[in-house]
């Protein structure tokens, strides 16, 4: 899932438990999406404040310079140290979260990848052809593509790896989502056969994929780790713990992994696809006080949380010179409503709750502008983002009116309202505490908060047992609006946890799946988004704001990207 995860906010609140994956990560790149049509590109330029854009641009320039240097120069050597948390898995077929993904993309690789500019670039494939009808993809694998042990990567390896990912015995929770466009995939997913009809090995270096319809986002989905290549011998010999000694194809190999202690990655000498800087990456998994560790020169990079932000932003503070401000990750946090359950089956009631929240106030005063209020679903800068979308703005009078119009105006007959949040600490997030108070003040609506641990939360979420749920965020897997709108709001999607159902939205989403014209596709998604927002399916809360990260001056070329992409190979240590 890349990513239902605790949202950055919650993490900031629970700073003691710190170090949630890439939450401290920052993007310095302004994202140029795959859908590079003029309209979309324009919409990106209009987003964000002047200040942030200019700041981001400067950073981009410097880092681009460094990167181009890196390719020509000799390796810088050295060690890059950062805090990470224990990846739930290192098996590319099983990755569902950003923490695992951040390590896996450095160890393994696939046919195509996303560059640090979020461009789709060839990785192990040197080129590919797409048939005129858009359903057959023929890839040519690089001649110098090898595993870490020096063995050449063949088309057969890819076929085996993808079929393994889809095989029910692998029990991949994500194979269905990322590989379901391949012809014949259902037969494998459901265990009727082990070979995917849509994958053909033409020769050692030529591989052919057939998909069920011309889908613009298919290549983008191949950048996800379910389509990465594995060494069959390595996997079969290693049993269930084969990932202890993975023989991958990525820029780094796994030197050491001590659960709860550290991960050490070592540069793969045979890696030939650009970028060669740092020798060793040390990821500290034991957590602690990140800020103090950074100040004491124990790590090279840390996110700046609410507690330290003010101090770091002060120009007189020495740390200020190491501060990098970068555009946000592509994610949105929200409060989900179950549209099938009272009182959220009434659109007026849902809208009333939306209009009663002053997001600007929360973002500015409480969260120190670490977030941007969200009125739509697609994050700024993401393909299809609609800067003109009005959304349901703060309007207490209208909120009260809508409440009166709803069938739940009378508190005596209104059902109990429980908002469930996942959590391990006793804090529910600052934003939610304010929102509860706003609902109480503006509407007189009383809400119970129920905090359950992650396990129960996911279970009940999937069973659609929650009336309303918060503490969730959705982060982009690949830069395509389908990744947000279709996956989260189509009435047949398994991730539509609120049971939102609107026939018109479904029709638009289905049409967009196969629409070849990029401009028209975006228009379709925008229509769908407008309907979803108008129906108050959620309370969209926040897009991540600019990220504040401290990076030691001797670290060059660390690109803070809005999505997880392979990037550590471009890091250089210059001491």
């Amino acid at each position: 899932m890349k990513k239902f995860a605790f949202v950055a906010l919650t993490l900031v609140a629970i700073a003691a438990a710190a170090c949630g994956g890439d939450s401290g990560d920052v993007a310095i790149v302004d994202p140029t999406p795959i859908l590079s049509d003029s309209e979309v590109a324009q919409s990106q330029e209009t987003q964000g404040t002047e200040e942030s854009t200019s700041q981001a641009t400067t950073e981009v320039e410097t880092s681009k310079e460094i990167v181009s240097d890196a390719i020509t120069e000799a390796p810088s050597g050295g060690v890059f140290r950062r805090v990470w948390s224990d990846p739930p898995t290192l098996d590319p077929a099983l990755v569902t979260d950003t923490t695992s993904s951040g390590v896996v993309v450095e160890l393994f690789s696939g046919l195509v990848a996303l560059s640090t500019d979020l461009q789709l670039v060839p990785d192990l494939a040197e080129s590919w052809e797409i048939s005129p009808d858009g359903t057959v993809y023929t890839f040519t694998i690089r001649a110098d593509a090898t595993f870490h042990d020096g063995k050449a990567v063949t088309a057969q390896d890819f076929k085996w790896s993808i079929e393994r990912a889809a095989n029910p015995r692998t029990a991949s929770p994500v194979a269905d989502t990322y590989l379901n466009d391949l012809v014949g995939i259902d037969d494998v997913l459901e265990g009727r056969t082990t070979e995917i009809a849509g994958i053909q090995v033409i020769d050692e270096r030529t591989l052919q994929f057939t998909i069920d319809a011309p889908k613009a986002y298919f290549l983008a989905k191949l950048t996800y780790s379910t389509a990465y290549v594995l060494d069959r011998e390595n996997v079969e010999a290693g049993g269930s713990t084969w990932t202890d000694n993975p023989n991958g194809t990525g820029p780094f190999s796994l030197k050491e992994y001590r659960i709860g202690e550290r991960i050490v990655l070592e540069r793969f000498e045979g890696y030939s696809r650009g970028g060669n800087g740092v020798d060793t990456i040390v990821m500290n998994l034991a957590g602690g006080q990140q800020m103090a560790m950074y100040e004491n020169d124990e790590i090279d990079l840390t996110g700046v949380g609410l507690f330290d932000l003010e101090r770091v932003l002060d120009p007189n503070e020495p740390l200020n010179s190491e501060l990098v401000v970068a555009p946000p990750n592509f994610n949105i946090s929200y409060i989900g409503f179950n549209a099938q359950m009272a009182p959220f089956d009434d659109v007026n009631f849902r809208m009333a709750l939306n209009h009663a929240i002053d997001k600007e106030l929360i973002a500015n005063e409480v969260l120190s502008q670490l977030v941007t209020p969200a009125y739509g679903i697609l994050p700024p800068g993401f393909p299809g983002y609609n800067p003109e979308l009005e959304g349901l703005k703060y309007d207490p009078d209208r909120a009260l009116q809508l409440l009166q119009d709803s069938q739940y105006a009378d508190p005596a007959t209104r059902p109990r309202i429980v908002v469930t949040v996942p959590g391990r600490g006793g804090t529910i997030g600052l934003d939610l505490e304010v929102i509860l108070e706003m609902w109480h003040q503006v509407l007189g609506v009383e809400v119970e908060i129920q905090q359950v641990e992650w396990a129960t939360y996911l279970e009940d979420l999937n069973k659609q047992k929650f009336q309303a749920f918060a503490g969730l965020g959705w982060e982009a897997d690949y830069p395509d609006p389908q990744d947000f709108l279709d996956i989260l709001f189509h009435s047949n999607s398994s991730l539509n946890h609120g049971g939102f159902s609107n026939a018109e939205v479904d029709a638009l989403l289905e049409e967009a799946r196969v629409e070849p014209d990029a401009v028209k596709r975006v228009a379709l998604y925008r229509d769908a988004e407008r309907l979803i927002v108008g129906d108050a399916a959620w309370v969209p809360l926040w897009f991540q704001g600019e990220r504040h990260v401290l990076i030691k001056p001797h670290v060059k070329g660390y690109r803070l990207t809005p999505m997880i992409v392979p990037k550590l190979t471009q890091v250089r240590i210059e001491k």
């Binding site: 990513k3 710190a18 739930p88 029910p168 929770p173 269930s240 500290n284 992650w454 396990a455 996911l458």
Partner: protein
């Protein structure tokens, strides 16, 4: 005496059985399905069933329990659910080792300060220093760890730069200082009080008077007779001190970032990793019961006046 020891030893497996049954029942019938956790948000019924079968979670509870206990006896604690396919023993052993070293360091601080202090106070009974020192020790003990941890880190690491701010480097590494202080300082009060009481007890006894009467020097009386005899009961309290460290370890290991068992236990509980929780609880209970047993037995040896019922 020997009958007593044998009886206590026989009781040990029964106790562990009861503890494991309680933990297993709570784990199995508690909320939160480990399979669901593992699958994350992209859950579907079919995959879940497959996984359940693969992990043997679809069998009757009693069979699962029997299987588990049989494995446990042979040193096989099963496989972790969170870190799929990884033996629990392999996961928790290094972390227990880390926490054990930390506990030892903390104990050295508690005992190293507490024993001499308690002894000293007993010999100064009635002077102002006696109640004052006890009060100070209690004072130190009462500061919540959530305050001492960031406080010590701030002062020791950022202000003075004496120690690193995080991490773990083994017993002989400077990084052990802050967590050991955090865990060890509160224990001083208990040690001091106990040693003080124990010393007073010894001082009042006949053989000390005899020693004095024989004309031995005061120093010789103190060190050879009083101190040694007063220390004996302390041995028995050590087991309980270790148990007391567990609560602190949860917090200290989390705040400072130490790869120990406390932090790991908390994470495992929240992720519903039953095999790991079971193993930690059982090993913890086993160690605790053993320590208890040793304490009782040594107590019986040291002080034969204690009636064994």
């Amino acid at each position: 005496m020997w009958i007593y020891i044998v009886r206590r030893l026989l009781w040990l497996p029964i106790l562990l059985f009861a503890v494991s049954a309680v933990t297993f029942t709570l784990g199995t019938f508690g909320p939160g399905d480990p399979v669901v956790v593992q699958l994350g948000a992209r859950y579907d019924e079919e995959t879940a069933d497959r996984l359940r079968e693969q992990l043997g979670l679809n069998r009757p509870v009693l069979v699962q329990y029997g299987d588990y206990m049989w494995g446990f006896i042979r040193g096989d604690f099963g496989e972790s659910l969170r870190f799929r396919g990884r033996p629990v023993r392999e996961l928790i052993a290094p972390k227990m080792w880390v926490s054990a070293q930390l506990a030892l360091a903390a104990l050295i601080i508690s005992v190293g300060v507490g024993l001499p202090l308690g002894f000293f106070l007993a010999t100064r009974q009635g002077s102002w220093i006696d109640p004052t020192a006890v009060a100070v020790a209690l004072f130190v003990m009462s500061v919540p760890i959530m305050v001492t941890a960031p406080g010590l880190l701030w002062v020791g690491c950022l202000k003075l730069g004496w120690v690193p701010c995080s991490g773990w480097g083994g017993f002989f590494d400077t990084r052990i200082i802050v967590p050991a202080l955090i865990l060890g300082l509160p224990g001083i009060a208990g040690m001091t009080r106990l040693m003080r009481a124990s010393t007073l007890d010894v001082l009042g006894q006949d053989f000390i008077r005899t020693a004095r009467a024989k004309g031995l020097s005061e120093w010789s009386v103190s060190s050879r007779h009083v101190f040694q005899n007063a220390m004996l009961p302390i041995v028995t309290i050590l087991a309980f001190s270790v148990a007391g460290l567990i609560g602190g370890a949860f917090i200290a290991e989390t705040i400072i970032g130490i790869p120990g068992i406390g932090r790991f236990a908390v994470e495992s509980i929240f992720d519903r990793d039953y095999p790991v929780i079971m193993a930690i609880t059982l090993v913890g209970a086993g160690a605790f019961v053993l320590a208890n047993l040793l304490a009782d037995i040594s107590y019986a040896f040291i002080d034969p006046r204690i009636r064994i019922t």
